[in-house]
């Protein structure tokens, strides 16, 4: 039996759509007949706090959370959050990072500075980093709400040998409001064609 479990983390700031991203990827894994678990954040942390969502799939998944050194992929919707959660990535894992920045409270109040050169810091650890201006790509695709779907598109390309692209599109069609489907599909494709 293949006991391998694939671990993905979605990290960002409350309100950036990491819940939808985990549900889309969870839907994809379920279509492939995997056991799936995802852990979400609701309540107070959603109010602009650091938000992390875990998604795991494989033959059998027990714990719904991912710990340090366990993630195969981190999908980061904000730069500082990418840096914060980096220790959760496996040493041979991949991080896909949106270049978007949102100042946290200590930066707004002037107590701390937003770290400089985050992509360089990440690359210095030897990790594979894929950076994308997902926000602009989403705007070009027709919706400023679909930066998360752009990032999913990039992931889909990385995993194309394991998971067929059309499965993601089927899940998008099932889960996205039909009014926004075309823009989300365009966002997905722009991510898919990004690398």
């Amino acid at each position: 039996m293949n006991t391998k479990v694939t671990n993905m983390m979605m990290v960002g700031v409350g309100g950036q759509g990491s819940l939808l991203a985990s549900r889309i990827l969870g839907g994809v894994a379920l279509k492939l007949n995997y056991d799936v678990k995802a852990s979400e954040v609701h309540g107070m942390s959603q109010r602009g706090g650091s938000v992390v969502t875990y998604l795991k799939y494989g033959e059998k998944v027990y714990s719904p959370v991912i710990c340090r050194g366990e993630a195969d992929f981190i999908l980061a919707f904000e730069q500082l959050e990418a840096l914060r959660w980096l220790p959760y990535l496996k040493k041979n894992g991949v991080i896909i990072m949106s270049t978007h920045k949102v100042n946290p409270a200590p930066v707004i109040t002037g107590a701390m500075e937003y770290p400089k050169d985050i992509s360089k810091t990440i690359e210095n650890t030897g990790i594979r980093l894929i950076e994308a201006d997902a926000f602009s790509l989403a705007v070009q695709a027709g919706t400023d709400k679909a930066a998360n779907v752009v990032i999913i598109g990039i992931l889909a390309k990385l995993m194309k040998d394991e998971i067929d692209k059309d499965i993601y599109i089927d899940v998008l069609r099932e889960q996205i409001n039909p009014r926004f489907f075309d823009a989300n599909l365009a966002a997905f494709n722009s991510g898919y064609n990004f690398i």
Binding site: V13, G14, S22, R23, G26, G27, L30, D35, V36, K37, A38, S39, E40, V41, H42, G43, M44, S45, Q46, R47, G48, G49, S50, V61, Y62, S63, P64, V65, C67, R68, G69, E70, L80, E81, L83, R84, L86, P87, Y88, L89, K91, V102, N103, P104, A105, P106, V107, I108, T109, G110, A111, M112, E113, Y114, P115, T121, T125, I127, F135, D144
Partner: protein
Amino acid sequence: MSEKKLLLGNAAIARGLYEAGCRFVSSYPGTPSTEITQFASEYKEIYAEWAPNEKVGAEAALGASIGGARAFCGMKHVGLNVAADPVFSAGYVGVNGGFVIAVADDSGMHSSQDEQDSRHYAAAAKIPMLEPSDSSECLSFTKKAFELSERFDTPFLIRSSTRISHSLGAAELGEREETELKEYKKDAAKYVMMPANARERRAAVEKRLAEIAEWAESCEFNRVEYSESENKTEEKIGIISSGIAYQYAREAFGDNCSYLKLGLVYPLPTELILDFAKNVDRVIVIEELDDIIESWCKKIGVKTDGKNLLSNTGEYSQEILREKILGIKPENIELGEDIAIPGRPPVLCPGCSHRGMFHVLKKLKLFVSGDIGCYTLGAAAPLSAMDTTLCMGASISGMHGFNVVRGAESAKKSVAAIGDSTFMHSGITGLIDITYNKGVSKILILDNGTTGMTGHQHHPGTGYTLKGEAAPIVSIEGICRAAGIKEENIKVFDPCDLTQTEKILKEELAKDEACVMIARRPCVLLKTTKTDKKYKIKQEGCTGCRLCMSAGCPAIKFENKKASVEESLCTGCGLCGQLCRLNLIEEI
């Protein structure tokens, strides 16, 4: 044919309600339990409502049970404190239709003011408790709990936790089993809890508990999984666990250990544990929060490890178990210690109606008796305008006690700040305490027209029911008048208008009578709130004084010694424009 679906733990509990033929649900929102009731309301076969608080919800659900229907009430751990009174007595009267109460603990305090282990309630109230460990069990346990509730004539508790309630997992969907409304038979000896009857019921509770304890030895909820792995550890380790902790244990120890997985966490089995312990060399109890299973093991003479290795606070994980029990540290990327990563605590949203209010409270240097809701974030920097926060409703009653001992002058420099939904939940009795006892405290009701923190649920003041039907509006002003607050001492204003807010606050604080100030502005996240305006800061002339940032709006950024508005976050509330002394902030 059955269908497999990815469900949130809370959605799976709701599905269990549906499939069990549950007809009545009454709850008050509370993270992480809220969505159970929201999902339940989507089934047309279930009558579902928001009660003003958990005590009312539990009483209404017990009433529905006595009335012959399968009934449910869901709450968070601190909600069970509020509902404890009826829940304890419900254990005595038992049920007619099955009665199930779900309680979601929040180990790690993701969204709570304290950390409690609700298993203590099961033991204290002598009510059996099931603990599912994933979405699939959330559904099947909930469904079976109704049948068991009727079989043993007792309410059943279901314990969840944040990681169960808010994790997605696959669950097998079944059909709804329609239940008939049972006949109601008058039975005062069972349903009227006066001392003579209660003494009889007290004995019945003990008899019932003994029967359930016997059933616990072989019930389907407790399961032994002996290790069949060939490379199992030389010392045969047996792990006793339940709920989410079981999942962490399975992930950390795999097939190399044996497991006794307990789905019924009260009452605990004796023979089953003794037998399991006999078949392994070393027993480790893995349970989040308190040492309830471990204490039971010790009581029945089983030597175990447990809290000698693991903490009784916070959440566990596979990493914690590996490190504390096996001594294995994670292999992860280390960022240099010279990299300072600013924290990102939750903050009031851009355009939040509470921001202006707390800005004024800070400016006036008032003692603020706070309460539970999004506005508790007014305690955080840079607003830092809250002195106390205890539990739902305590702002008003606590303010009263504070001012009685500190004298009338104290009431001119202090205010109780409470949200609209929290006021409905348990603020009204505090208000009555003040008016009845001739108190002179000042109350500020932060009315944003919703239960904000838990994700926008209706309450008696919003004009809509849980199912979205129009409902009579319970008027906050009307309640205040009825409680004895004079008409001239009730003021309503928009807290985003800083000048008016400050003026009203100063006027009311100067009075020698109890006053209620209602800061009314809808939550910016409500779909009905218009956010089509945007503001910008003229860069020419900006001196970088940061005054516009003093209210802590996340939509204002500071770069190259000048402030500017992050347009994608701005909701157009215009608060920053009132803070700039140079009038550099204007609508786009």
